[in-house]
Symmetry: C2
Subunit: 196 residues, 2 copies
């Protein structure tokens, strides 16, 4: 991998363009942090990442090297080509003012990954209501197969661990350093990425 | 429950309005059938059912009596008030022409629940790209908590089994009798519903 590592500061987000065939590497710079990833088709952002279509076609809720992330129109958007961690979540939505009020009633309300993604994606013509479930890189969400119960646990990623994805079409990507308490064990660390 | 039972014929779908406080009962008339359920806010259909927000707030992927189904704007849409079956899916998207081509390459392509829902919802100003993951009533999708692998098994619902939901806001509902082979064990049966 070449390309400079860009740093997403604590509790913030960004948007970037990724051409078909380019790779996006998401790097946990300090370890134990989560990055919410969104993808939209460059030529029509009404086509976006779909957890349901991905679960349909991949026949698993655990995505790792070799898995494809699919769009709501049943097209491949991203393929995972390298994964140091093997623990990511595609069930849950980005944290938001509402999730802060719900889960942390005694703590200050933050606009969260949802607000950070909405702000970063607005210049690309993407409205808040267009934001689907994110692919939550490094997020550790065990699911009990019997009861269906899920919990949000601290990530198992270590400093320098990376996930690499290859764009299957031209994309607008949204990416955050997660703002919620539970998903990163109460720390708010930066996230790194690079494009090659 | 009063109200006449309406029959959704095999491999078709419908749309209906549900006022806040009304109950929708989905009835498996013959047993072993699935019904894909969508919900949109009547006053702004950009607010719609969200599997991710529901998994966030309910902290489970298994929804049954007492569970609330949430919108993408973090508002309660429907509350499950009665459940004869206890086995429903909220992971997978409605079957479509694309899923037929993918899973049943040797069988005739059908527009599926997705096409049926899109046609039924169009008069309500809802476009195909606005269709989120459905709440798949009676759909039997075991998930292996360790590997994440999922499979689509025949429903365990028997003739007459019902799921009842109470509207938490004024809603436009989309509802189908499922068209896919796997989800109803290769049968294509009708589904019943009534509003009270």
């Amino acid at each position: 991998m070449s390309g400079d590592i860009v740093r997403i500061e604590s509790r913030s987000g960004t948007a970037l363009k990724l051409k078909r065939g380019q790779h996006l590497e998401v790097i946990d710079l300090e370890g134990g942090q989560v990055s919410d990833l969104l993808a939209f088709a460059s030529d029509d952002p009404r086509e976006s990442l779909s957890n349901g279509r991905t679960f349909d076609y991949e026949e698993t809720i655990r995505l790792t090297t070799g898995s494809t992330l699919w769009s709501n129109r049943s097209n491949p958007m991203l393929k995972i080509t390298h994964d140091d961690v093997g623990s990511h979540d595609f069930l849950l939505t980005p944290c938001s003012k509402d999730t802060f009020r719900h889960f942390y009633p005694d703590k200050p309300v933050h606009r969260g990954c949802f607000g950070n993604l909405a702000a970063a994606l607005e210049p690309h013509g993407i409205a808040p209501d267009d934001i689907p479930c994110a692919f939550n890189v490094f997020m550790n969400v065990p699911v009990d197969g019997e009861t269906g119960k899920l919990s949000v646990e601290p990530p198992i990623s270590k400093a320098g661990d990376a996930l690499r994805l290859e764009a299957q079409m031209d994309l607008v990507i949204g990416l955050t350093a997660c703002s919620a308490y539970a998903s990163n064990g109460g720390t708010f660390k930066p996230i790194g990425y690079r494009v090659t």
